[in-house]
Amino acid sequence: MIIPATARLRAATPRLSIPAGSTLGPLAALLLACAFFTVRTDTFLSGGNLSLVIQQVMVVGTLAIGQTLIILTAGIDLSCGAIMGFGGILMAKLAVDTGLPPLLAIVAGITVCGLFGLANGLLVTKISLPPFIVTLGVLNIAFALTHIYSDEQTISGLPSELTALGNTFPLGNTDVTYGSVLMLAMFGVFAYLLSQTAWGKHTYAIGNSPEAARLTGIPVQRRLLGIYALAGVVYGVAALLLIARTGVGDPKAGQTDNLDSITAVVLGGTSLFGGRGLVLGTLIGALLIGVIRNGLQLMGVPSIYQILITGILVILAVTVDQISRRRTR
């Protein structure tokens, strides 16, 4: 069943094979940044520090997986950070205050995040509202619910199950965080799904042209709904990583993570116009942000310059995307 569907798709949309080279630019930027900081500091290139960088991007990196799915369909999700924030508070509060078994609290948190994603998807598909507006609304709703439900209180004293992903194991002589491995594994799974399955091809096709996708027999509405719900589940996993990383349920967490995740996606070479890009590019984009932040800090450069440089890189990435789009037309 899968093969005929993709075959039909290939015929309908000729530009479906995405050149793997589209992550070459971001990868070059990442290696360049690493080389620069290796030369300029004596602390950057150590296993402990590189493991730290991956651990520092695991939350935004995971969010950015969901964000990549939605941007590939030519949508955008402003609500991801707020949904994650609510999921995190829910898990923490259910486990600590309500006394729910920790694993059940985790499942509940991830489920609720999935429901938020489903709500986004329903509004986008059933009422045909623009994703920007839908997710802006849900951003505010999730933000408010987080503060109402938490009563503005940070929740500490979490059971060990909730923070387990923040623990480390030795790899060689470096401590690696379990959450980092989970994030990398999720990138692997989604890279496979997007490149090797019919579902992945459908996602790209919808982003290229929903109308053409519909004409080739792709159930566009159902796929979109599924993608938004799946993104929500991914945000739920990010919520678990968030509380594991900081060790507390923090009602103020995630406020700028929506834009940070979009930044990672864009730096990774994924087109905001949909249909073009690789989820591994997003990983590179997220790592690039982390490396710049960490490296500049090790050099003693104030953190405001990290924001400046990230801004410049975003403009560069979008410019490259725009120029290459024009060439291929």
Partner: protein, 337 residues
């Protein structure tokens, strides 16, 4: 092709960490490093604190690192900054915690690695989460303007509006409660963890210490209680916003505004009469004391501990009997921002 590149990137990422040098935070030789982490980069209070720390670090021959959260309340940004500074091999970290509870686990990790951590301006919860605290006594800062306002309002019935900070932030609670205690409007002490209430308070609103939000809050309070006559504000930007709202209603002459901070713009506001009095605090002193403590720790392992009050002074040009104060000339000589 794609599958191969997936495997390549992922194993590459892991392999990089595995074959590195292994240890982090080991800085050998070179100058002693000290880090400062503020709530934001933009608030003049923190800008001044950073300048003070930088100057003192230079004088003591230390290497100075700085970082900040992206917004007030950005705990994860501060956690990241702590981790990066520990990786950079700092001897000590000075921090104004954005979230006084949530930052504790990250501070504990740094202290476990032998880094001296000192809270500036804002205590952590619990306060012994850090090695030491250099801060203004915010309850006393509130008390001073409370006592001042009480003396100024002698004989009149006070109807108070409080323009507060944000829910759950200890600095805002301490100043608010200090003010009400000093005014004699509420029986409360510095250990309370929630905003005190009083029948004399006719309106309360959060401003996040922001001028525009202070103005909006004051406008709404004037709608609710047009006859209010005392305004307590969390800081001077909020006070100046309140003044703008009062002026629009022609009420600026008969409403008393008191505030906390002692920034240069704020003291000028006191000089021109927009603000009646303000409690001045000293971020430069917090920063330089903090850097000195890290320098001493690096030299012979002496650890500071406990709370050091960096002082607070009531600044006004219309002094009242029974409440000690300094004039705006003193205020301007010692202001920040």
């Amino acid at each position: 092709m794609i599958r191969k590149s997936i495997v390549l990137v992922l194993t590459g990422a892991l392999a990089l960490t595995a074959c590195g040098k292994g240890s982090s935070g080991s800085s050998d030789g070179g100058a002693v490093k000290v880090g400062l982490i503020t709530k934001t980069e933009t608030n003049p209070f923190f800008v001044k604190m950073k300048e003070g720390a930088q100057a003192e670090a230079k004088a003591k021959g230390l290497t100075f690192l700085s970082a900040a959260g992206k917004f007030d309340g950005d705990n994860e940004g501060q956690v990241t900054a702590i981790e990066n500074m520990v990786a950079a091999g700092v001897k000590g970290i000075l921090i104004t915690p954005s979230d006084t509870k949530a930052i504790i686990p990250a501070i504990k990790k740094a202290r476990d690695k032998g880094v001296l951590v000192i809270a500036l301006d804002t205590p952590t919860q619990p306060q012994d989460g850090t090695d030491a605290l250099f801060a203004t006594d915010n309850f006393k800062a509130g008390q001073l303007i409370g006592q001042y306002a009480k003396a100024k309002m002698a004989g009149k019935t006070a109807k108070i509006a409080t323009l507060d900070l944000a829910p759950g932030v200890s600095v805002g609670i301490l100043r608010h409660n200090g003010f009400l205690q000093g005014f004699g409007a509420a029986t409360v002490d510095a250990t309370a963890t929630a905003l005190a209430t009083s029948p004399q308070v006719v309106c309360s609103a959060d401003t996040a210490g922001d001028q525009a939000k202070g103005q909006t809050a004051m406008e709404n309070c004037l709608q609710k209680s047009p006859d209010l006559n005392v305004v307590y504000t969390i800081n001077e930007p909020a006070a100046l916003g309140a003044y703008t709202a009062l002026k629009a209603k022609g009420r600026e002459k008969d409403v008393l505004i008191v505030s906390v901070d002692g920034g240069c713009t704020g003291v000028k506001g006191v000089q021109s009469g927009e603000i009646a009095a303000t409690s001045q605090q000293y971020p430069l002193k917090m920063a330089s004391l903090g850097v000195d403590a890290v320098a001493a720790f690096a030299k012979d392992k002496t650890k500071v501990s406990g709370y050091t009050d960096t002082g607070v002074t009531l600044v006004t040009d219309k002094s009242v009997a029974g409440v000690d104060s300094k004039d705006t000339k003193f205020g301007l000589d010692n202001c920040w921002g």
